[in-house]
């Protein structure tokens, strides 16, 4: 009980707190995650592929994720832990555990599937109750290459692997969208829908729209297949969680962590989730 209590009180310190309390001899060698990001969304929207595109710089067929997969991403001097969760209902019960203390949540849907957006609100939003109180939300519409010609060319997320390919294709991009290689599918979710959802997420979390990042900045359309916007998504989020990393590092310097202070030092909010 004590364990859980401490976790709830100081969400952003979760990982370390748990280790201190559960395993006595804490290994100093483990790279401590500075901050936690969770990817949520219905099955088959491309959560694993997004992460895979970002970390491995390539797109390959994945199979349905089992439970959740934990990744540690080295970002400059910081260690960012990313939880790639299973979208299947079967694993729903674990969602809140993955989200505990998260500094950012990526809510992922499939732009060709309206239901996948609806699921975010129905099924996944409540899982974020255990996330950090100043958690940042991003709404991400994946598979944009299926509906948008300009997303079919690898632009940002392709990295080196796609550089040559992307370089050639990106040049005529804004002016003349070359006839798409594959017929475009009907886009079921517009960016406005996603932004509306973002507003509802903020309301659900009791966050003020004025003090939270604007919807335009936090709604993305990506393509894990071509790499479109993928780097942008992750880099933007990393930049935004940087303050909580720094805050946590500062706190980490004091060997004794004052839980009350860590909570008090957080941004004050009008309301707070239950």
């Amino acid at each position: 009980m004590i364990i859980k209590y401490s976790v709830v009180v100081s969400p952003s310190l979760k990982a370390n707190q748990r280790q201190v309390t559960t395993t006595m001899p804490e290994s100093t060698k483990m790279k401590k995650p500075d901050v936690k990001i969770v990817i949520l969304g219905d099955m088959n929207v491309g959560k694993t592929s997004l992460l895979h595109r970002y970390t491995e710089r390539k797109f390959k067929d994945t199979i349905s994720t089992v439970g959740g997969a934990f990744f540690l991403k080295q970002w400059g001097p910081y260690n960012i832990s990313i939880w790639d969760t299973a979208g299947r209902e079967q694993f729903h019960g674990l969602g809140s555990m993955y989200c505990r203390g998260a500094a950012a949540v990526i809510l992922t849907y499939d732009v060709t599937n309206w239901q996948s957006l609806a699921e975010l609100e129905d099924r996944f939003l409540s899982l974020t109750d255990t996330a950090s109180t100043d958690c940042i939300f991003a709404i991400v519409g994946n598979k944009a290459d299926l509906t948008d010609p300009h997303a079919q060319a690898a632009t940002s997320g392709g990295g080196q692997a796609d550089a040559e390919l992307g370089g050639v294709q990106t040049q005529p991009l804004p002016a003349c969208p070359t006839p798409p290689a594959s017929p475009l599918l009907n886009k079921q979710v517009s960016k406005e829908d996603a932004m509306a959802l973002y507003g509802r997420v903020l309301r659900y979390k009791g966050l003020e729209e004025k003090t939270s990042p604007p919807a335009e900045k936090m709604c993305f359309e990506t393509s894990a297949k071509t790499g479109y916007n993928v780097d942008m998504l992750f880099e933007t989020l990393f930049d935004m969680v940087l303050p909580s990393i720094l805050k946590k590092r500062r706190e980490g310097e004091n060997s004794t962590v004052d839980l009350e202070e860590s909570r008090g030092s957080k941004r004050t909010k009008a309301g707070c989730c239950a």
């Binding site: 748990r18 694993f91 674990l94």
Partner: protein
Amino acid sequence: MERGNQENGIREEVKTDEPSSLKCTDQTVSKELTRTISSENHINSEDDDALVDENGMKASQERPLEPQTKDSTADNHLETEAPSDGRKEEETVDLPALSSVDSAGAHSLSISEDTTDSIHDDSGEFVVTMLARAKLEEQGMGVKGTSSPLLETGTAVGNPAHQDEDVTTERWRQHRKHVFVLSEAGKPIYSRYGSEEALSSTMGVMMALVSFVQSGDNIIRSVYSDEHTVVFMQRGPLVLVSVSSSRQSEQQLRTELLYVYNQIVSMLTQASIARIFEHKKNYDLRRLLAGSEKILDGLLNLVDSDPSFLLSAVHCLPLASSLRDSLSQILQKAITPNLVFSILIAKNQLLTIVQEKMVIDDARLDPSDLHLLLNLIGASSAFQAGEIWTPICLPNFNPDCYFYAYISYLDPPECTVCLLLLSTDKEAFYAVAECKRKIEEAMQSQNSLTAIAKAQSYSVSQVGVSDLRHFMYKPFDVPDNYRQLTQFTSPEMEAPYCSEEEKMRLLDLYRDMHSRIHSSSRPLKLIYHVAERETLLAWVTSKFELYTCFSPLVTKASAINAITKLLRWIKKEEDRLFIRYPPKYSTTPNPSKSSRGGKGGADHTDSTDNGVLPLL
């Protein structure tokens, strides 16, 4: 039907069983459950080491197996079938019927609905649905908040591959082994080939058969035709059907269906499956299994190609005992509260397994549970960089509770050495991940990975017996030792069993021998089988079960001689081929405490006795 008639020649008292098929026995399902714990039976049987008389061969007298072995694992499953004893009805139906009965689908469905009691007026069903939803949500399992019919079809898509197969084609019909899973209401849950939707009427007919026989207070077990064997198995609210042209025995097919059932249970737990259908008879279980089809597909492929499943035993990678011991010690040292099993796997074979002390007292890890775990790991290997944390139920250990499995590869990017840590604490991820770091460090300092990389399966030529082409040897527990993990050893399949077809042919021969050794009506102790392209000898004693394959020109005397040599060789290599004494560790004096009583937000406490938290 090549089985009965081929073993001309030397046949001593070895009886071929009756023209096989259509000889149905009264042994209930408990039969193949006793198969999974067959070691028991053999231990109990009188010692007959003097089996080889001067004549070489002697088949033992028939000794019907006790149908009810006292074993907790068997009990678990038996209770569902409890009312099923007595006479079993068997029907012979011309099989092509299965594919041509589509028109009867609607009719059959109504039959099945009749048998499932109640819930047919809408209001009632609505209430039940709401109840179910409330209950499930309360237990932390998500049920989609919006109306379901659309969703159910929506979630079903998304698994291409075999699911696209046209079920009306001849090609579909000619698959060697079909496996179907359906609910008591006749709803399709899984089909090995083709999409479940396209097969809903076929599955309806299956359910009609089950219900029809049930209405006469009987249980349908199997249907035989010239080409196919159809085996039915009901487990709680699920009905599993195998349609096979593989010539396997009914018992073997039934064991395979049990594996399928257990794999489903490993993902959902028996308790939650029962609960779901209790509340809503016509629930579409595919909603919960969506995405898991590949795991079931993988399991069925393994069942066909890996003899571990046939023997219900685990295959270890041969390893110098000193190396295996040092690996075990590394695992033994990296522990955390609520950790119960630490398992190291390389090349899909077991390297070592360490268990929590308290756990081993009341139960052990059943080989079939380990098979399910290995299959899960194989199926999730597509994305190997991360550290997986997932709930998993071990059906033979406790069908109603979850363990939490930590899965991580130790040698990226090759990903051949896999660490599997099982905890009872849902929240223990970071603690368990810390154990992995310790294990990683220790293995690095001892250079274990290089040593493991050198380990490989062996060639039959190392035995030094000419004419011996292949064998499978499964020792039974030493009676006065505590019950160990059942293991077997087997060399690589080499020429002439190189191609997939030839490998399968040899396995089929083994399966045939196995089915006759374990025939419920006429179990045999020894079979000497001269086939066209090889000679096989299968032998069961109280100490071991052995299947050997010789070149076709071997004589009986030299085969006996070879087996003597083989047994001597195995004895000599024992320490390398098997995990002799699975080590133990003790995590905390009171492991069940800390996983209980947590009250964090959406968490739910369990109702179980051993601290294993259920997910639902």
